[in-house]
C-alpha cells in the first residue's frame, strides 16, 4: 500500500471573529512520512489535525490529500474514507458493544468483509476478548485501544493521532508505541503528543507548533534526540 501525501497551503482557521488559531500555515507531508507535531496547549495542534481530517473546514487556504480537498463532494468523501483519526475523544457509543460500534463504522465506511477486518483490527490492539462488552464498561485505556481499532478498521492510508496516549498507563503506552512502530508501516502518519519520548520514537520528522505557526521543522536524521529536546524546551520556556 502506498501512503498518501498531504499539502496545506496558507491554511488558516478561526473560531472567534478576530482570533486565528492557525494562520498562514504551509505544510507538505510526503507519502509514508511519519510526522510528530509538538507544542504547548493552545498552539493549534488539535485544530490542525481536525482540519486534516475534514472535521473542520478551513477559514482560509486549502488542505489537500493526494491533491483532493476532503470537502469536494464524492471525491472528497473517497478521500475522507482513506483517513483515520485517533483523538483523545474515543468517538464511541458507550451504550453499544465493541462489536456494534466497529460494525457501525465499518458499514459507514462501506467495508465489504467487515467481520474479518473487525477481528483483525481487534487482534492488533489485543481486545478480541472484550468484543461483546458495552464500551461504557471498559476502562479508559481499553476504550482508547478500541478507538485505535476503529480508526484503522478501514485501512486508512493516512492516519492521524491526536494525543493518543492520553489517559493510558505505562504498559498501555508501550503497547501503543509498539503498534505505531510495527503495525502501521507503509502509511503516512501524523501524531501530536505531549510525550516527547514517545513522539520522537515513532516519527521521523519533528515539527514544533507555536501560536498557530510552525516554529521549527526538522527531519530526525538531521538532528539528535538530545538536540531536539533542547530546542523544544527552549521554545516552550520562551512562551508565557
Amino acid at each position: 500500500m502506498d501512503g498518501t501525501n498531504l499539502t496545506a497551503i496558507n491554511l488558516g482557521k478561526k473560531f472567534h471573529q478576530h482570533q486565528f488559531v492557525l494562520r498562514h500555515l504551509d505544510l507538505h507531508v510526503k507519502p509514508n512520512q511519519r510526522v510528530g507535531i509538538f507544542g504547548p496547549n493552545g498552539a493549534g495542534k488539535t485544530t490542525l489535525l481536525k482540519l486534516m481530517t475534514g472535521l473542520f473546514r478551513p477559514t482560509e487556504g486549502t488542505i489537500e490529500i493526494d491533491g483532493i480537498s476532503p470537502f469536494s463532494g464524492a471525491e472528497g468523501a473517497r478521500i475522507r474514507s482513506s483517513l483515520g483519526f485517533v483523538s483523545h475523544q474515543t468517538y464511541l457509543y458507550n451504550e453499544m458493544t465493541v462489536l456494534e460500534n466497529l460494525d457501525l463504522h465499518g458499514k459507514l465506511h462501506g467495508i465489504k468483509e467487515r467481520r474479518t477486518r473487525i477481528i483483525t483490527s481487534l487482534e492488533n490492539v489485543g481486545m478480541t476478548d472484550h468484543m461483546n462488552r458495552p464500551v461504557g464498561q471498559l476502562s479508559r485505556g481499553m476504550q482508547q485501544r478500541i478507538a485505535l481499532a476503529r480508526s484503522t478498521l478501514h485501512e486508512p492510508e493516512l492516519i492521524v493521532f491526536d494525543e493518543p496516549d492520553t489517559g493510558l498507563d505505562d504498559f498501555a503506552r508501550e503497547k501503543l508505541q509498539g503498534f505505531m512502530q510495527t503495525g502501521l508501516s507503509e502509511r503516512t502518519m501524523i501524531i501530536t503528543t505531549h510525550n516527547l519520548e514517545l513522539g520522537m520514537a515513532v516519527t521521523d520528522r519533528w515539527i514544533i507548533l507555536l501560536n498557530g505557526v510552525i516554529a521549527y521543522d526538522i527531519d530526525s536524521v538531521a538532528t539528535t534526540n538530545e538536540d531536539f529536546s533542547y530546542t523544544y524546551k527552549q521554545i516552550m520556556s520562551s512562551t508565557p
Binding site: 478561526k14 473560531f15 472567534h16 478576530h18 482570533q19
Partner: protein
C-alpha cells in the same frame, strides 16, 4: 476580508464616506419635515382626535422593522452562498435595527390602541405576526450573543435568519384562519387609512420615506463601524496583542 498591511506610511485618517454624510443630512431633513407634517400640517382626524397622529410613527416604524428583516433574510442567503463576512455584518446590524424599530412600532401601536380600541394589545393576525417577528429576531440576537462571534455563529444565524423570515407569512396565514374559524370577540377595525384626506396621506408618505432614509443612515453607519472594528481586531490579533 482584506488583510491590514502594516507599512511605514501613516494610514489615511478615518473620514466618513459620502453615502454616510448624504444619508445623515437627508434623514435629519426628512425626519424634521415628517414630524412637522405629522404634528402640524396634517389635519386632526374627526373620530380619533390627536391619538391618530401616532399612526405617522407607528406604521413607518413597523415598515422599517419589516424591511430590516427582509434585509436580514437576503444577506443571510448572501452569506451562505458567498461566505463573505460583509453579508454577516449586514445581517447582524439589520437585525438589531429591526428589533429597535419594531419595538418602537409595537409600543406606539399599544399607546394608540388603548384609547381607540380600549385594549393595549390585540392578538389579531397583524398583532400576532408582529409579535412573532419581534420574538424571532430577539432570539436571533440572543443566539448570536450566546454562541459568540465567529464563522459558526454566522452560519447558524444565517439559517435562523432564513427560517425565521419564511415563517412570518405562515404565522400570518395561520392566525388569520384561526380567527375566521374560531369566532372571537370582534374588535373595531377602523379603515381610516383608505379614506384619509390628501394632507394626511402626504404626511404619512413623508414619514415613511423619512424613516426609511433614517434606517439607511443607521445601517451604513453601523456596517462601516463594524468593518473598522473588524480591521482593528484583525490587526491586533495579527500583531499578537489580543
Amino acid at each position: 476580508m482584506k488583510d491590514l498591511t502594516i507599512n511605514s506610511t501613516p494610514q489615511k485618517q478615518y473620514r466618513p464616506g459620502t453615502s454616510l454624510v448624504i444619508t445623515a443630512i437627508a434623514s435629519t431633513v426628512a425626519l424634521s419635515v415628517g414630524f412637522y407634517m405629522a404634528l402640524i400640517y396634517a389635519p386632526e382626524e374627526a373620530l380619533q382626535g390627536g391619538a391618530q397622529r401616532i399612526f405617522y410613527l407607528h406604521v413607518p416604524a413597523l415598515w422599517v422593522g419589516a424591511l430590516a428583516f427582509l434585509v436580514v433574510f437576503i444577506s443571510s442567503l448572501g452569506y451562505l452562498f458567498s461566505r463573505n463576512t460583509i453579508w454577516d455584518i449586514i445581517a447582524r446590524s439589520s437585525a438589531e435595527m429591526g428589533v429597535i424599530f419594531l419595538t418602537l412600532g409595537i409600543v406606539a401601536g399599544a399607546i394608540w390602541a388603548r384609547p381607540i380600541w380600549g385594549i393595549w394589545y390585540s392578538f389579531d393576525p397583524r398583532g400576532t405576526t408582529t409579535l412573532v417577528l419581534w420574538l424571532t429576531y430577539v432570539s436571533y440576537i440572543m443566539l448570536r450573543s450566546i454562541v459568540g462571534s465567529g464563522p459558526r455563529t454566522s452560519r447558524l444565524s444565517a439559517f435562523l435568519g432564513i427560517v425565521g423570515f419564511i415563517n412570518v407569512p405562515l404565522v400570518f396565514m395561520a392566525t388569520r384562519w384561526w380567527r375566521t374559524l374560531h369566532p372571537a370577540p370582534t374588535i373595531v377595525t377602523s379603515d381610516s387609512e383608505s379614506g384619509m384626506p390628501q394632507e394626511m396621506f402626504l404626511a404619512f408618505l413623508v414619514c415613511l420615506g423619512a424613516f426609511t432614509i433614517f434606517y439607511a443612515f443607521l445601517m451604513i453607519y453601523r456596517v462601516q463601524l463594524e468593518q473598522i472594528v473588524e480591521r482593528v481586531q484583525t490587526a491586533r490579533s495579527t500583531l499578537g496583542l489580543f
